[in-house]
Symmetry: C2
Subunit: 365 residues, 2 copies
């Protein structure tokens, strides 16, 4: 059966001051209507019912996520007691799913990406699940065709074309390839080379695989981690779960799923994503997902602009932001903190957060 | 006896959103500690006791001014029912003072200027009062030596030097001249010519004269206005005052004191102000009165800056403003509205206020 594992542990400091430790990006309504994690669940449609969705986050976010996803059984929201990167997160979810459904197929999804349309996404997931059904040891990923030489994404280098068998009730498969190699975020010339070669995709962070595939891979390559995870998964649903989770998870080594599993795995396929995808990693990225006015400003909330162009303004519904003679400036107003940033300097929003920590101004984190 | 008349009717739209219709510049604490009108009263020191200070403002501001100046008899705060420029304001004050003290000497002071030091100011007022005592029909003004070719001030053209007689208990007089002509705000080349000639002062808006001088002048040049004002002054202190004030003041013609009196008066002297003066007509002007950090930023409130230079930031005590890669930008945060403006475009703050009116967003005015 198809299960979804939503990874919702991100800190989202790049959206400060809209995003905070207690309310990071995935809990925000950045593009209108629903929060990003709500949209992530909605996007699954009928593909996966609520009881087969697991959310993995940190302990602090369990309660607000439960509030935003009232349809989800609250025990399906797992709060990690500490940061241990992606492999333990994925491995734990696999262990929990496999105990009740040994043939479980997992969709791993970040909670904070913008994807459209839902239909294209669901169709693509069905195709990936078919590829896994076809060869149960296979890992399927989604690659995004790069639109520029981005330095902020990992890349997937594709190999030969893979011709999946046709499956009943599913559209003919999109472009699918064997994966030659996963590549870390590249710098300048390398990014340019990747982009221009036409053989590289951005790594979307969306995977489809059997839970058993991950468990076997971790047993082989990360036996210590796997041992701890097994103990936690076994306690799931019992009264000991919380204390076991904390004790064992804290004790295990942190590692990314890329290093722990992907690099060793021989049968990995990449589907060129047929849906529109954006990880909205910055205010500028967000602006690309929203309409802009005739002066090229993207406005969320009450704004009055005079001779202002290329700005991104976000404010609470009632708080007015007036801009005067501004160019390429980001203004984000929240009740207790306001950011005013040069658009070309946006990367440094992280530095603001670091300085807040340094100064002990934790009330703004 | 020496009396002070503080003119406190200004709207101060240039300090929006810190200044509002209900709390204009003169009621704000812009430079720290006391509000501008409080500082104006403080500045008089022992020169004029509270009961001899009159404040002329608009009706809406009577209550907040009374709150800020608890030492002042509340009946000394006159709330004009409508705008009629400066001549009726000054003439009414003169009429009220003259009824109890026919030989009253009035100091006319704007409520929203920054002047230092108090001692130099008081000494200068004493010298001016001596010049008036010496020739009771004389009008004495203070001129500010221009530091640039300002277009935003009226100018005073000086004539021959005036050598006042020495007076007991007062320092030797500062540079004093006969006034040749009052000049309106000049444009470009004219402003430059005024500045370079060395014969022009900025008009500080501070005057010293006998109440009787103004009353006589208005009787002569503005008999209709004078008639209405006399009726109002006569009602001062009676139960009819409020209704009389509204009826008569609304009926009289508006005119500036410059046009109504100054232009016709032959005996006008200008003292080169020995005190530091600033009308703080803009955020940039305000910044000149405040210290700046090593990056040339002027900060009032909680701020965190990264690669930000030449900025002016003002925020409430607890609201944090973070600036990132900003240059020459003004950020003013208030609970319900925030302005972000290019420093070189500051003049247009008035346009923001106009647009608020146009859009009917009166809650921000």
């Amino acid at each position: 059966m198809l299960h979804a594992v939503i990874m919702a542990g991100g800190a989202g400091t790049r959206f400060w001051p809209a995003s905070r430790t207690a309310r990071p990006k995935q809990l925000l309504d950045l593009v209108g209507g629903r929060t990003m994690i709500q949209a992530t669940v909605d996007r699954l449609g009928d593909l996966v019912p609520a009881e087969r969705i697991l959310v993995v986050t940190n302990q602090q976010l369990v309660a607000p996520i439960a509030e935003q996803l009232p349809g989800l059984p609250v025990e399906n929201i797992l709060g990690e007691p500490c940061k241990r990167d992606t492999a333990p997160c994925v491995g734990l979810a696999a262990g929990i799913l496999a105990r009740h459904d040994p043939a479980a197929t997992m969709i791993v999804l970040p909670a904070d990406h913008v994807i459209t349309t839902d239909e294209q996404f669901q169709e693509a997931i069905r195709q990936a699940a078919n590829l896994v059904d076809d060869r149960p040891g296979r890992i399927v990923t989604f690659g995004i065709r790069p639109t520029y030489a981005a330095e902020g994404f990992g890349y997937i280098e594709r190999g030969d074309k893979l011709t999946p068998p046709p499956a009943a009730g599913v559209s003919p498969p999109a472009d699918t390839y064997h994966v030659k190699k996963f590549r870390e975020k590249p710098k300048g010339a390398t990014a340019k080379e990747f982009f221009e070669s036409g053989r590289f995709y951005w790594n979307s962070g969306i995977f489809v695989w059997r839970a058993s595939t991950i468990l076997t891979a971790l047993d082989t390559h990360e036996p210590i981690m796997a041992g701890h995870l097994q103990v936690i998964a076994k306690a799931f649903g019992t009264s000991d779960f919380a204390s076991t989770f904390t004790r064992e998870f804290t004790a295990l080594p942190g590692k990314s799923i890329d290093y722990a599993v992907m690099e060793h795995h021989s049968d990995v396929a990449v589907i060129e994503a047929p849906f529109r995808w954006d990880d909205v990693g910055s205010w500028q990225a967000l602006a690309r997902s929203l309409p802009s006015d005739e002066d090229g400003n993207t406005i969320i909330g009450r704004h009055l602009g005079i001779r202002s162009t290329g700005c991104i303004v976000r404010t609470d519904q009632q708080h007015l932001v007036a801009t005067l003679g501004l160019r390429d400036t980001i203004v984000v107003h929240t009740p207790d903190a306001t950011l005013v940033a040069n658009k070309h300097d946006e990367e440094a929003v992280r530095q603001v957060v670091e300085m807040l920590v340094q100064r002990g101004w934790t009330e703004y984190l």
